[in-house]
């Protein structure tokens, strides 16, 4: 089994090779969290995370030839049926798998990534979207919650051009999409509850830091003006499903 360091090296190798071929690969998922949690690895617990990338939609046609040159073969059946939005590649003679989202990040909720957002960080999707990629998961599991804690512990809130979690972006996206707002606020609450258990023997400073950042995010979201459509959807509430159903790849 690959170690996290092996996978991190491989992720960077692919991103660098992509850059040389004008292919803008940006990581999300466990390795991206790892990349942004170097200062304090308290919450980062992974044995062998997937290698996950987002690629701009217009570069989709480059993927197959690129990954073949990098020693990967496509999951032809999966890519045939889903390749406009999602592709999978397997490394030959190993169990290493690359998962690629094409265009926007779309799971329980959609995080648009077309508007130059992939230029913000040279390795991963921007921190704001990385945080939301975890906070948008309706069926948040323990690992996802730990990833959110890890990001909030290691990264300041502020402007994403300064390498911080883009508070404006988080607030903007949640204020445009009521469904995303709902899931994110539910999950921030879950993370708060988790943090307030006795499970983690966190120094008070660290606990307070994370709690204050959660509060800051919540305040920013609430303070951002909402459209009429958002407000109407808010009236309907959770009586109508507010998220997309996500399934396992192998069902």
């Amino acid at each position: 089994m690959d170690t996290i360091s092996d996978l991190y090296l491989e992720m960077n190798r692919l991103i660098e090779a992509g850059r040389r071929q004008d292919l803008q690969l940006r990581a999300f998922g466990g390795l991206a969290i790892f990349a942004h949690s170097q200062a304090n690895m308290r919450f980062f617990r992974r044995d062998s995370p997937d290698v996950d990338f987002v690629v701009p939609r217009e570069q989709r046609h480059k993927l197959e030839s690129f990954f073949e040159t990098m020693g990967y073969s496509p999951d032809k059946q999966f890519n045939l049926l889903n390749g406009m939005r999602r592709q999978i590649y397997h490394q030959e003679n190993s169990d290493r798998r690359i998962d690629i989202l094409v265009g926007d990040f779309e799971m329980c909720h959609k995080l648009p990534l077309d508007d130059q957002r992939l230029d913000v960080d040279p390795v991963t999707i921007p921190l704001a979207e990385l945080l939301l990629s975890k906070a948008q998961i309706v069926q948040l599991n323990r690992k996802d919650a730990m990833d959110i804690l890890s990001l909030l512990l290691n990264n300041e809130l502020g402007r994403d051009t300064e390498g911080k979690i883009g508070l404006d972006r988080v607030a903007q996206l949640c204020s445009q999409d009521w469904g995303l707002y709902k899931t994110v606020t539910i999950n921030l609450e879950r993370v708060e509850e988790l943090l307030n258990t006795d499970e983690f023997k966190l120094p008070v400073v660290e606990r307070e830091l994370i709690l204050s950042r959660i509060g800051e995010i919540r305040d920013a979201i609430e303070a951002t003006p909402k459209s009429l459509a958002w407000q109407l959807r808010d009236k309907i509430g959770t009586r109508v499903r507010w998220y997309e159903e996500v399934e396992e790849v192998d069902r």
Partner: protein, 541 residues
């Protein structure tokens, strides 16, 4: 930590929602294209149209149970092919699936093209004042063939756009088309027969150059052609004899079966039932309402007579051309109740969305069967490749498009009496469905582990698995249909054993499928691949 979930890997949002699958099913039993087209041809039956519509829908509901069950057990792209090849064996699965989901769709192309010209091109061109072009499309073989070629172009573009974009087109067409239908029904329910006669005579003359007195002349030709089909009633046997024609329209709520590998929540049996079943229910109810509205203002007898006048000439039973030189399209008739050209155009344009939302069904489901067979190595791998730049399955499309051009040519120019083969399009698919239905009947007994682990295992009727019971009922219905089509004891359908061309055409498809199967199986064996072992495993999705 009770409020956190257990979830495995990075998830996947599949292309289609259950609503998308419903709309696909709704359009697959398309009341305006398939429905009105076949109703107009069914002018010589003694059984009531409404009775046949309702009774056939009841039988077809059991088809919905069969397919919803199989989808829940194995939600795989390729549908019938995957189920039959894994339950009944590779040879049966391949031969029945590729004939029913691939080869016979070549014949559907000129039928889609025929509906395109009658429902979209001719009425819109007529209202826009392009009388000569409208009549060229309506009444010439060149026009029919051209309509098929345009159809192929539109469908190819839709397939190239991918499932998700096609779902958007369908949804737009659904809302617009239903709005158009409601307007048509309101026009028909609020109009009068006198106003209709006046509107028909005035507009048919002005738009299409018909001679004055078109109403009476059409009625007369219809009577001569033997138009007798009643709105409702008739003996039970007479009603049953209507159904082999009726199912040309409504046998297809399961048309998305091959796509369910790309539908969210497809392992949920109840959702599948509600998607396909509600499409069947809504379409049947709309059908009853529309036919009632037609009878109220156009007049049932005239409606049947106008269809008889058109098809009696089109099928070559008379030399007398119909007085109305365009296909009798009830939505156009409804639009004739108003003299406002813009309003007429809007109504017919909205109704044309029933064709645009539906036309992709001719190939979309088929491509998944071709892909599944290619992944099983029964076709060249290249067949399942997409163009890197456009994402279009070019080779699979070519396998659909190129033979379709030939068949459309034969059909449009009625070479070898091809125009008489309309119902072959339904017969061959019904044979495929029978194979799938037998798979469903035996599934709990031949694959007990798979069945017992599925969400449908809990549904039983008197201790017998629901899927088996539903399969027996629907299978009986299919056997009745096949008997009527093939032996045709009352000479009603014209595609049976007495029609040599029909038999040769259908048999040649099964021979071609068998040749491909055994040819590839043998070639793969030489490459060290055992196709039987491939079919022994459930494919990953």
């Amino acid at each position: 930590m009770t409020n956190l979930f257990v979830r495995k890997a990075t998830g996947l949002v599949r292309s289609w929602s259950v609503l998308d699958a419903f709309v696909y099913a709704f359009f697959s039993i398309n009341l305006i294209t398939l429905g009105l087209y076949s109703f107009s041809q069914m002018y010589y039956f003694e059984g009531g149209m409404i009775n046949a519509l309702i009774i056939s829908a009841i039988f077809i509901f059991f088809e919905v149970i069969v397919y919803a069950g199989l989808i829940a057990v194995m939600p795989r792209s390729g549908g019938d092919y995957v189920w039959q090849s894994r339950i009944l064996g590779g040879a049966v699965g391949f031969i029945l699936a590729v004939t029913g989901w691939w080869f016979i769709l070549w014949l559907w192309v000129p039928l889609y093209g025929d509906m395109f010209r009658h429902i979209v091109l001719v009425p819109l061109l007529g209202i826009l004042g392009a009388r000569d072009t409208a009549l060229w499309f309506a009444g010439t073989q060149h026009g029919a063939f051209t309509a098929s070629l345009i159809t192929l172009g539109i469908v190819s573009v839709f397939i190239a756009l991918g499932m998700k974009t096609y779902a958007r087109i369908q949804k737009f067409s659904f809302y617009g088309g239903v709005l158009g239908l409601l307007v048509v029904i309101i026009l028909l329910l609020t109009g009068s027969n006198a106003a209709f006669r006046e509107g028909l005579d005035a507009n048919a003359t002005a738009l299409f150059g018909a001679q004055p007195g078109v109403y009476a002349a059409t009625a007369g030709l219809g009577v001569e052609a033997g138009a007798i089909t009643p709105f409702a009633g008739g003996a039970l046997l007479a009603v049953f004899l209507v159904m082999p024609y009726m199912v040309f329209f409504n046998l297809w709520p399961n048309w998305g079966a091959t796509l369910y590998g790309e539908v969210r929540g497809a392992t949920d049996f109840k959702r599948n039932i509600s998607g396909m079943g509600s499409a069947l229910l809504v379409t049947t109810l709309l059908g009853i309402l529309l036919l009632y509205a037609i009878g109220r203002t156009i007049g049932w007898d005239f409606y049947v007579q106008s269809g008889a006048a058109w098809w009696n000439y089109a099928w070559g039973y008379t030399e007398t051309a119909p007085a109305l030189p365009v296909w009798p399209y009830p939505a156009l008739f409804a639009a004739f109740l108003t003299s406002n050209k813009f309003f007429q155009f809007v109504v017919v344009a909205l109704m044309s969305l029933w064709w645009f939302g539906w036309c992709g069904t001719v190939f979309l489901s088929s491509t998944r069967v071709i892909f599944a067979a290619a992944f099983d190595r029964l076709l060249p791998e290249r067949v399942a490749e997409v163009n890197e730049r456009t994402g279009t399955p070019v080779n699979a499309l070519l396998l659909m498009v190129v033979p379709s051009i030939l068949v459309a040519y034969l059909f449009s120019y009625n070479i070898a009496n091809f125009a008489s083969l309309t119902l072959c399009s339904t017969l061959v698919i019904a044979v495929t469905y029978l194979g799938t239905t037998i798979s469903a009947i035996v599934l709990p007994y031949t694959k007990p582990e798979l069945y017992n682990a599925s969400p449908i295992a809990k549904y039983k009727v008197l201790g017998i698995p629901l899927i088996t019971v539903a399969g027996l009922i629907f299978g009986g219905f299919l056997v009745f249909l096949l008997y009527q089509w093939l032996f045709d004891p009352n000479a009603l359908y014209g595609i049976g054993l007495s029609n040599t061309n029909s038999v040769i055409y259908m048999l040649s498809m099964y021979v071609l499928a068998a040749a491909i199967y055994f040819g590839f199986k043998s070639a793969r064996r030489r490459e060290g691949i055992d196709i039987d072992k491939v079919h022994a495993e459930i494919p990953a999705e």
